[in-house]
């Protein structure tokens, strides 16, 4: 097993965990925001708890995988060699270990793997986390649109260009068309509004306004 193989194993579990954890944190955030159209359960309080459970399950999955899946978290190769087990790989805690499952006692450090030995570096987490989170957000909008297909109350009397504000009384599938239509109708006014007014730090605003005044 090379660090590349170990990296792939790690990555799979990491992506699953971050995907589920993001589903959970979005449920918690949306329940605090009162965005019924984004929730998987009818009650905001229940959705909040469900979100918390999803997060716990996500991290519990990630940290308990070594109990049933073999990886670089087995017993130290030197110990195992006496029992005639296979030669080791550089694994948990930088030790030479046997490719095997971990016991409960070894679970604490099972995922402490240097990035040069197949763990995920900060940079690769910076790439893979947004991917998992993005997929979870897309899933949330799709799943909640199915679950809340009956929610279709769009209040046209208010300024509806408020994005997820519409999801307080409508599902995402019901809200996206009116929201896009409002944005299409008002985009010039919105852009102008953003550039109006003065801001001593607004670098882009300053450049655009100087160009405009010519």
């Amino acid at each position: 097993m090379t660090p590349h193989d170990i990296g792939n194993l790690f990555l799979r579990d990491y992506l699953i965990a971050m995907y589920v954890a993001t589903l959970g944190v979005v449920q918690i955030g949306a329940s605090y925001g009162g965005l019924r159209g984004m929730l998987f359960l009818p009650s905001p309080r229940a959705a909040r708890w469900f979100g918390a459970v999803l997060m716990v399950v996500a991290f519990a999955y990630f940290f308990t995988v070594p109990l049933w899946a073999a990886g670089p978290w087995g017993p130290e190769a030197t110990d195992a060699a006496a029992g005639g087990v296979s030669p080791g790989v550089i694994g948990r805690d930088g030790l030479t270990v046997v490719w095997d499952t971990a016991g409960w006692s070894g679970l604490g450090g099972a995922h402490n793997l240097n990035d040069v030995d197949g763990g995920l570096s900060g940079g690769s987490q910076g790439i893979w986390f947004p991917l998992a989170a993005g997929l979870a957000l897309i899933s949330t909008f799709l799943i909640s649109s199915v679950v809340n297909r009956g929610l279709r109350e769009i209040d046209y009397s208010r300024n509806i260009f408020w994005g997820v504000e519409l999801l307080k009384n409508a599902s995402w599938a019901a809200a996206v068309r009116p929201s896009l239509a409002a944005a299409r109708a008002d985009w010039r006014q919105i852009v102008r509004g953003e550039f109006d007014g003065d801001h001593e730090w607004g670098g882009i605003r300053m450049i655009v306004n100087r160009w405009r005044s010519r």
């Binding site: 955030g29 805690d93 995922h111 995920l120 989170a133 994005g163 997820v164 809200a175 953003e194």
Partner: protein
């Protein structure tokens, strides 16, 4: 390295082996995959948690600053690592430190996850005091957990906390310089009813 720093580090690391369940828990807390991802998850939750359009708008701007602060932290850590190659405790004090973690090869200062945690806490400062203090606590927990397992000094953690706050402040400046381009990005997301 001063004596005070060494003493705190050796005292904390000296607890290794005293009580198995503590070692077990601290190794998970010190890891790369529990507390650091929580910082990013909190930012995502903040995007949707505002209860009024105005509050949500402010919190979404704060979330943007949080993402910027994380990026700035990683960049600043990269620069600082090139300037000061402080040896890790398990390298500088090989006979005294019990290493309970993988032998990290980059310099000890600053404590990366603590810097990121405090940068996010600073960026989300106005969102909620409870959230702010929770993030700061998590930043300190992961930092001191790594002192316990022998890969940071206490001053790496304290310095990283100050660095994180400073970077959050700088992220606020940068946000204002790019204003209103980032606001317009939010507007586009809002057009698709996803922000």
């Amino acid at each position: 390295m001063n004596r005070f720093d060494t003493e705190i580090t050796l005292w904390l690391n000296g607890l290794v082996g005293d009580w198995g369940p503590l070692d077990w828990t601290v190794r998970i807390l010190a890891g790369d995959y529990l507390i650091p991802p929580l910082f990013a998850l909190v930012i995502i939750g903040t995007i949707f948690a505002g209860s009024t359009p105005e509050q949500r708008h402010e919190w979404q701007r704060a979330a943007f600053r949080g993402v910027m602060a994380i990026a700035l932290s990683n960049w600043a850590i990269f620069i600082l690592n090139g300037v000061w190659d402080r040896a890790r405790p398990y390298i500088a004090l090989p006979d005294d430190v019990n290493l309970l973690f993988y032998p990290a090869t980059d310099p000890s200062f600053p404590a990366n996850p603590t810097a990121v945690g405090f940068a996010v806490a600073g960026a989300l400062w106005r969102v909620s005091p409870r959230l702010r203090y929770s993030l700061m606590a998590l930043g300190l927990i992961v930092g001191f957990a790594r002192v316990y397992v022998g890969v940071f000094y206490a001053t790496d953690v304290i310095g990283a906390a100050a660095l994180g706050f400073a970077l959050a402040y700088i992220a606020g400046w940068i946000y204002r310089v790019f204003d209103p381009a980032l606001n317009l990005a939010l507007r586009v997301a809002r057009a698709f009813a996803v922000a």
